[in-house]
Symmetry: C2
Subunit: 221 residues, 2 copies
């Protein structure tokens, strides 16, 4: 669970836990994780495939039939929300790290001994902004989430109040990017956290400063 996600609970921190420690939900061998991985592969392949030669009409029909099967077994959204947020563990469904969310790349973040959280991710066509580059808004999305995980790793939780994102150079698709975050100060309920995205060679692409307020949206019950 990250601060974005409703509370601190028994979240490990860099003061209490052995580092490095994976802080996001690892992809497991569970059928839902495998199905979500396959859905990610479909999303990517739809962007890459030849519009004229692939049988996209059949693909549309098959995907609709899969969705119908899944929907048939879906509880009411209100009930599903309660289930999703049950327990105090790390969530599995967010759009950045969630192994159950095909929108998520997913990014895996580790907590380091100095309080930094860090992960490496390679982004593909679904995240494109300028030609061959990561969409600026996608960088902001990854960083906002990473700062939330950094807060948790420092033992804090808060809602994002302000996020200032600076773009230093185009962020490349198709190569490993290092995403980092670290809480730098706490002043009453105000939490300040910074982060960045660099290439594997250490070139700074995007940096961010976040202000978080120590409060949370209650979990559905």
């Amino acid at each position: 669970m990250t601060p974005e996600h409703g509370g601190v609970g028994e979240h490990p921190t860099f003061r209490t836990a052995e580092a490095p420690l994976v802080l996001t939900s690892p992809r497991s061998d569970a059928p839902v994780d495998r199905a979500t991985d396959a859905a990610r592969r479909v999303v990517d392949a739809l962007l890459r495939t030849d519009r004229a030669n692939a049988n996209l009409e059949r693909v549309a029909e098959e995907l609709d039939s899969i969705a119908a099967h899944l929907e048939e077994h879906a509880p009411e959204v209100a009930d599903r929300l309660v289930d999703m947020w049950r327990g105090e563990g790390v969530t599995r469904h967010d759009p950045v790290t969630g192994p159950e969310n095909a929108v998520a790349p997913p990014l895996v973040l580790e907590g380091l001994a100095d309080g930094t959280v860090r992960g490496t991710v390679t982004l593909t066509l679904a995240y494109q902004g300028p030609p061959g580059c990561v969409h600026g808004g996608v960088s902001a999305l990854l960083l906002d989430h990473t700062l939330g995980v950094a807060n948790a790793w420092a033992g804090r939780a808060g809602m994002t109040a302000q996020l200032s994102t600076r773009y230093h150079r185009p962020t490349p698709l198709f190569e490993p990017l290092v995403v980092s975050g670290k809480l730098i100060s706490v002043d009453g309920r105000k939490i300040r956290t910074v982060g960045d995205i660099t290439t594997a060679a250490g070139e700074l692409c995007v940096s961010v400063e976040g202000l978080f307020i120590d409060k949370a949206v209650p979990r559905p019950r």
Copy 2:
């Protein structure tokens, strides 16, 4: 084509075109759009379905088999990129408005006579941050893209240099949100553009100020 996407070309502007005008790629009846819509439905249904009762093993196999078919017909990524960016039209593949990108909700933006661009979108579980609310980073993603479209509607194009996002109240899932943007000043190569996300009742959830620099990543050829 938005400024994020490489240039201005013959993009209509509020000074030259009849308003209101849809500025993003409309969803069409093309097989790729229908397949992408169905993929979106699968992504959502995977988050909603009952983990114990749906046949997720079969779903994983079927999705992998669909992906394999699409990949079999996929050209090299470098060639696909050239094709993707061909012509000077509005792109169809970005992660916010792209009808060919299942990561995109998709948001449809209209240009208004006063230079504002505006769209209404209802976000679902794939975009969740705090319980029942839109992820703060997703709001930043939608706004960054909207500001780019607002720049184009004002006849400008630029790369995002800085994006300052403020969160005023939690942004709800499952209800219509109004996303707006407008270029407010140009000073040499510096373009300043603002935007916000409100509920349908007009409650301000997120506001943003963007600084863009008038330059573009060249299109692949």
